[in-house]
């Protein structure tokens, strides 16, 4: 590995590396806007850019199947769920000045310290490691399916049970309480009944 990496310096990047770097900058910028913007719906839309950029990074790493799964599940369903959640909780359209809590400077300190430590350790450890991207792709549907259904069958089936449990749990959680026993404290705690209908 070190012999191969010796031929590849950081100062003469290959085309794949340049593409990875550019898409990575876009992804990181979109992620930063996601966590700092004050417009809640814009945060969800910038999250789409970040997740789509990550799908392109998977493609550049020759993991095709993961990339399409990422597009389908994250961009297709998770962001739509988040947008529905934002609208069902009456997120204000436009700027909301209280999107950040009071401890954002402590959070910024923790995040910058963690980033510095992680980047230092990772660069120090893998400075000379080289991923060989030539040859057959490492993550085609064929390869992924073979490894998944030869070696990972039992976790795969357990995951289906987990998804079923999550589905049932989400339905139970989001059902309205039974109308037979109207809780006496529900109305003052939850505002108007019309709001409850809308939140459902």
């Amino acid at each position: 590995m070190s012999l191969a990496a010796a031929q590849h310096g950081f100062l003469s990047p290959t085309g794949v590396e340049i593409a990875f770097l550019l898409v990575g900058l876009v992804t990181l910028g979109a992620a930063l806007v996601t966590v700092t913007t004050r417009q809640l719906v814009h945060a969800a839309l910038w999250l789409v850019v970040a997740l789509g950029g990550l799908a392109v990074e998977y493609l550049l790493l020759t993991a095709e199947f993961i990339a399409w799964v990422q597009v389908l599940i994250y961009v297709g369903s998770v962001v739509v769920l988040l947008l529905f959640g934002l609208m069902l909780t009456r997120a204000p359209i436009g700027r909301s000045p209280d999107a950040d809590s009071g401890n954002r400077w402590a959070a910024l300190t923790v995040a910058v310290a963690a980033a510095a430590a992680l980047v230092w350790v990772v660069v120090d450890a893998f400075r000379s490691t080289w991923i060989d991207l030539d040859g057959p792709a490492a993550g085609t549907t064929r390869v992924t399916g073979q490894s998944l259904f030869q070696n990972w069958v039992l976790p795969f089936e357990a995951l289906s049970v987990l998804l079923l449990a999550a589905l049932v749990g989400a339905i139970v959680l989001s059902r309205k309480a039974a109308a037979a026993d109207p809780p006496p404290g529900a109305a003052p705690a939850a505002g108007t009944p019309g709001e409850k209908e809308g939140a459902r």
Partner: protein
């Protein structure tokens, strides 16, 4: 490709998500930041799996399998999380994390208005 590129990008994305989790006030924005952190882990898993599938002779492609599992679990997590946030919003009228401090210690005289009344607790218990 140098392994340092995806590793550094993954570390930076993770710390971005960490900042979002710590600094955001709306519960749904916190869930978005959790998604960013999970995606950073996924990028790391894929990059190391592609590297190991060349460097080692026999791999189980465990990185990609674990990435698929993480994506599925993240989808389940976002469903349950949004259901919980919607239930809290229905009962409390807010999804503001700073105002949900019923279990906080050391606030005998809670000065935050309109957060925890016994009625609200009962409403959540019966919902």
């Amino acid at each position: 490709m140098h392994l340092a590129y995806p590793a550094v990008l993954s570390a930076l994305l993770f710390c971005t998500g960490l900042y979002g989790v710590l600094a955001r006030r709306n519960a749904i924005l916190v869930l978005m930041s959790v998604e960013l952190m999970l995606n950073a882990v996924n990028l790391n898993l894929v990059a190391f799996d592609v590297w190991l599938s060349r460097a080692a002779q026999e791999t189980l492609h465990s990185g990609q399998a674990l990435t698929l599992f993480t994506i599925a679990i993240a989808a389940a997590e976002i469903g349950i999380g949004l259901a919980i946030v919607l239930a809290v919003y229905r009962n409390r009228g807010t999804s503001d994390i700073d105002r949900l401090r019923d279990t906080a210690e050391g606030h005998g005289d809670d000065t935050d208005p309109g957060t925890d009344t016994p009625a609200a607790e009962k409403a959540e218990a019966t919902a």
